[in-house]
């Protein structure tokens, strides 16, 4: 059926429209179906408590002030009594920049690929798992 206008070039998109129907749609069927992010995707922060030594570098370099060093005990170095600290993370402030991951000399921190970060209570994102192993 021809368009009854004197302009010849209306409906240029028609051919492409029908071609697009035959291709796979670009939208993913999230949350059903696979969740695909690339390897380097910066998702939720994770810490390996075994590797952490409490050096506090992550607290100093974090741009968003996510990390607080919490004292968890004391130990003796020589004759001095030194406080042992471990980090606690307020992950609702984290911007997932990865600066702490880059600067941690012991490789304790990683950014996982988890992007489903919605919670009902802000406080439930506070990560304290590094505080348990205190020695």
């Amino acid at each position: 059926m021809s368009k009854k206008t004197s302009r010849r070039n209306v409906g240029q998109a028609m051919g492409e429209m029908f071609r697009t129907v035959l291709q796979t749609p670009i939208t993913e069927k999230y949350p059903f179906g696979d969740k695909v992010v690339t390897e380097r995707f910066r998702g939720k922060l994770d810490i390996d408590p075994v590797k952490c030594t409490g050096c506090s570098i992550c607290e100093i370099v974090c741009p968003a002030q996510v990390i607080t060093m919490v004292p968890v005990g004391k130990k003796m170095i020589g004759t001095r009594e030194v406080e042992i600290k471990r980090p606690s993370f307020e992950l609702y402030t984290c911007i997932m920049c990865g600066q702490c991951v880059d600067d941690c000399k012991f490789g304790a921190l990683t950014l996982t690929r988890n992007f489903e970060l919605a919670v009902f209570k802000k406080e439930s994102t506070i990560m304290r798992k590094a505080l348990i192993i205190g020695k």
Partner: protein, 324 residues
């Protein structure tokens, strides 16, 4: 009116049937629109997202209704009901189960014209009653667009009446028989489609409810129940205009008579009608997806300089054909 007519009017093929058809049209609209753009459209509610329009309707109906303080509350309360009633009653005159419609009048084609005019009048009244800055601009555009498309639409609808020699829709359907009027008067069909796009406020003529410029057009201030029914009425107008196109140009529910049994034959007639209805609807959807929105002055110029003369010419040709 016998009780059977009342039941037919309310259930099948009357109001309830057409509300479900409106939902189905909306689903098909969103699905083709999305697929042609490389997206998926509704997928979650119901199989293939078929229940999405129903879910949207109930969601809107369950929301709080916020009415601006300066609006005309009487019109906003009763206007949507009248706006809904216009296409709903019009549909009863269109023959689906064969050549008989539920309601009949020898001049019901004129009543269809009145219904179309009445719809726009109610839309303008509702927009005016909403007392918002965007609504006021929108009804200005709506009325301007209305004056442009009304004449070609009427001429395009009169052409089949002239060809059939009858001013009732049933008469037009019967007179077509196997020679559909789209073959004899294709220009009138094209003009009808274009003017119908303007009536329904779909691209390229969706200026009165241009979402990106004036928020929601004349529907800006509606929410809750009112918005649910107004949107349903827009879908219903979609079905109504498609049904008109089918009856006037595509032979209505006519088709080969397969069975001798009257009731079984009605089923076949209804399915012919539905197939043609969805074909016309699909045509609307494809045109809507392919074109951008034109400005109001460009639309007016298009209608007055090109479409109206074409429809006049077509009417002249049709008259000559009848009196040949």
């Amino acid at each position: 009116m016998n009780p059977l007519q009342v039941v037919e009017l309310l259930l099948f093929p009357g109001l309830t049937f057409f509300v479900w058809l409106a939902f189905a049209f909306e689903w098909l609209d969103r699905k083709t629109y999305a697929r042609m753009q490389g997206r998926r459209g509704p997928v979650v509610t119901g199989p293939f997202g078929l229940l999405q329009p129903v879910a949207d309707f109930f969601k809107l109906a369950s929301k709080e209704e916020i009415v601006p303080t300066q609006s005309d509350k009487f019109v906003l309360r009763w206007g949507p009901a009248l706006y809904f009633a216009a296409p709903a009653i019009g549909i009863a005159f269109i023959p689906i189960l064969g050549t008989q419609a539920i309601l009949y009048h020898p001049l019901d084609l004129l009543f269809m014209l009145f219904i179309l005019a009445f719809s726009t009048l109610m839309a303008a009244m509702l927009g005016y009653a909403s007392a918002g800055r965007y609504s006021t601009i929108a009804i200005g555009r709506l009325v301007v667009q209305y004056t442009s498309y009304e004449v070609p639409l009427i001429l395009a609808m009169i052409t089949p009446a002239v060809l059939a020699g009858s001013l009732s829709i049933q008469g037009v359907v019967v007179a077509q028989g196997s020679m559909w009027y789209i073959v004899i008067a294709p220009v009138a069909f094209a003009v009808f489609i274009i003017a119908a796009l303007a009536e329904l406020e779909k691209p390229p003529f969706d200026i009165p409810s241009a979402k990106t410029e004036i928020v929601g057009g004349w529907m800006t201030e509606f929410s809750g129940n009112t918005l649910a029914y107004v949107k349903l009425t827009k879908s219903l107008s979609y079905v109504f205009l498609s049904a008109l196109a089918v009856s006037l140009f595509l032979g209505g529910s006519g088709g080969p008579a397969i069975s001798a049994n009257q009731n079984l034959q009605s089923v076949f007639y209804a399915s012919y009608f539905l197939v043609k209805l969805f074909a016309v609807g699909f045509l609307f959807f494809v045109i809507k997806t392919a074109l951008a929105r034109v400005r109001i002055d460009q639309a007016t110029k298009l209608f007055w300089t090109i479409i109206t003369p074409l429809s006049l010419a077509q009417l002249a040709v049709a008259i000559l054909w009848v009196f040949r």
